[in-house]
């Protein structure tokens, strides 16, 4: 041992460029990871942060102009501001070059009103909100009234938290990400219900019954290779098999005039994801089964248990954490996957939730919204770009938190399981 340490030190003292190179690459990877996370969090916060309101005076095309507006972004060359949106959300953005700017004040009595439909209006003092054409805003229209330039730190934080909650819970304009969140959760639950029994049965067969026969070899190879097939191919497979062939066939059978099953929908998406996550479940479950000590199996069999009884009463209870790990891994994989869903049922805007109070409550053939799909659509949508971009980042952060949280849970569960298996094996 002492000799080893000596060699270790001697080697260290010598010039060892590779070590530093490798360490530097680790550092670079960590920095990249940190950069991605911090940029994401910062952008997401912008979706909810109150924007300061400025009184601007500048030289425009038709002489000098002035405006009370929210300053959305600014850099060394120009400001992007948003004036009161009397007409339409996202229609009042203006870019003002710094060279043209005559005067900019941050009046303390500035207020910004947020309306039910997401438009924002900027005012000064206690003046009632009056549109340029003289009409007045009904008080019921106004959902938020903030003195933007006078917010203390705690007030600003409270405001951001409230806006974030509205965004997630569906109180925000357009429902925020609530429908997408519901769609994601329902989809993932349905997928779990489909994949878990099948995956566990398959793992049981592979590990407990098939031995090393030809059938088992083929199935193992199929599982290993299915795990390497790109997700979008699963989507295409789902589109061809489930949507076009089975769904189309069902429609023809039911003689429905409009395509009901022959279009993308919740059930087809869940089935596609179930196929996609099947290898994950089988592999994780098999690993868990392999960790159940043979002594327990033999103990049960020696008491006269049949194989089924041994599995049900001894092996599966011991392997329960492994099943949980398998479930979490599958859910994490499925929740982050977007590409296949674009082919089999996730849409930009679905008029109704897949789960509601109307019989049959769970609408398997409905199209639905999905968090990942929302991120994609918000990012690439035209129109109100600054707001959509910020919301895309907020939705992405939500997705990231959900998926990474699930994965972390799986990792912790796996480590627990290993410890427990070690205890049992003593």
């Amino acid at each position: 041992m002492g000799r080893t340490v000596q060699y270790h030190r001697a080697a260290l003292r010598r010039h060892d460029p590779g070590l530093w190179l490798a360490a530097g690459l680790v550092g670079l990877s960590l920095l990249a990871l940190a950069a991605i996370l911090s940029v994401l969090a910062q952008q997401a916060l912008q979706a909810f942060a109150p924007t300061p309101v400025a009184q601007l005076r500048w030289r425009g095309d038709g002489g000098e102009q002035q405006l009370l507006a929210a300053v959305v972004t600014q850099d060394a060359h120009a400001l992007v501001v948003r004036g009161s949106e009397w007409q339409r959300r996202g229609a009042e953005y203006r870019r003002i070059a710094r060279a043209d700017l005559r005067q900019i004040d941050w009046p303390a009595d500035a207020r910004s009103l947020r309306l039910r439909d997401g438009r924002e209006i900027y005012l000064r003092g206690d003046s009632a909100a009056q549109a340029p054409d003289g009409s007045r805003l009904a008080a019921a229209e106004i959902v938020e009234d903030v003195a933007s330039n006078r917010l203390g730190r705690t007030e600003a934080t409270g405001l951001m938290l409230r806006r974030a909650w509205d965004f997630v819970s569906g109180a925000a304009q357009g429902g925020g990400v609530f429908p997408a969140l519901v769609g994601t959760v329902v989809l993932v639950l349905l997928m779990s219900v489909l994949v878990m029994p099948l995956g566990v049965l398959l793992a049981l067969w592979l590990h407990e019954y098939a031995g090393s026969g030809r059938g088992a070899r083929i199935l193992r190879a199929a599982m290993a290779n299915l795990a390497g097939v790109p997700a979008v191919i699963y989507g295409l497979f789902g589109l061809v098999l489930f949507v076009n062939d089975i769904g189309g066939g069902l429609d023809a059978l039911l003689q429905s005039a409009t395509p009901r099953w022959g279009g993308g929908g919740l059930l087809w998406s869940a089935l596609t994801l179930a196929l996609l996550t099947l290898p994950v479940v089988v592999i994780a479950t098999e690993e868990g089964l392999a960790r159940v000590p043979a002594s327990l199996r033999h103990g049960a069999l020696a008491l006269g248990a049949t194989r089924a009884e041994m599995l049900w009463r001894v092996v599966l209870p011991v392997a329960r954490p492994a099943l949980l790990t398998a479930l979490i891994l599958a859910v994490a994989r499925a929740a982050g996957e977007v590409a296949p869903l674009m082919l089999v049922g996730a849409v930009k805007y679905a008029p109704a939730l897949p789960l509601d109070g109307e019989f049959p409550y769970l609408h398997l053939s409905r199209q639905f919204m999905h968090l990942g799909q929302s991120v994609y659509d918000l990012a690439l949508a035209g129109g109100d770009v600054p707001r959509d971009m910020a919301q895309a980042h907020a939705a992405a952060l939500l997705l990231l938190v959900v998926v990474v949280g699930l994965n972390a849970a799986a990792i912790v569960a796996r480590n627990r399981l290993r410890e427990r298996a070690r205890e049992l094996a003593v």
């Binding site: 031995g211 090393s212 000590p293 043979a294 002594s295 327990l296 199996r297 033999h298 103990g299 049960a300 069999l301 020696a302 008491l303 006269g304 248990a305 049949t306 009884e309 009463r313 001894v314 209870p317 011991v318 205890e423 049992l424």
Partner: protein, 275 residues
Amino acid sequence: MSTRDEDIGASVMPPDLLAGRDLALEARALCLEYSERRALDAVNLQVPRRQVTALIGPSGCGKSSLLRCFNRLNDEIAGCRVSGEVRVLGLDAYAPATALPELRRRVGMVFQKPNPFPQSVADNVAFGLRLAGLRSRLEIDDRVEAALRAAGLWDEVRDRLDDSALRLSAGQQQRLVIARALAVEPEVLLMDEPASMLDPISTLRFEELVVALRERYSVLLVTHNMQQAARVADYTAFMQGGRLLEFDATDRIFTNPRLRGTEDYITGRMRETRG
């Protein structure tokens, strides 16, 4: 039965040793291979009913493998092949029609390492009873208590019945798995070095237990402890290198073994376990 078998039997066992006794277990020309490696070589063994038979021999000679033939637990080991004849309570254990669950219920087994299920103490003992479809709590509780009493564990665990069995000490766990085996009312008990993890006092108590079990069960006991074999066994079998070399009444084999190898092993072990 071929004459060759008779020869082997005769060389192993004095004639008339078991004359007039019922047999609980019987192996004839039993061979066993683990993926082409032979672990048992033409073993002939007869275990009389309601007696304690000890099986001794150096480590790796195939004692556990032989034991696993009698309840066909070898079927569970990949690459294990068995040939020859095994009779359990007069029935051919390897006949295609043999129902394994029933065979294994009648032939209880206690393993080299205690292997309680990660369940409560009571559930461990009730495991076999539930397989029989017993539902009534009262009946199960009664039988659990009886089994624990028979294994000499009741007084220690009577108020810990709902605790996890993994929290018991090694000796208690060993008696728990004995109770678990007794609960299904087997007729034969295979015990694979059950006392290897026990302290001297627990070992003594365990030996008393084995002597008591002799009243109702046929016991085949593997042990590395010669004194133990001498104390509890009526008959003793000596194995070496996958062969059964000698079988005799215990006092005869310990005082006057017929084979040199048996004597060497026994005296060697005696000195070792005493020192």
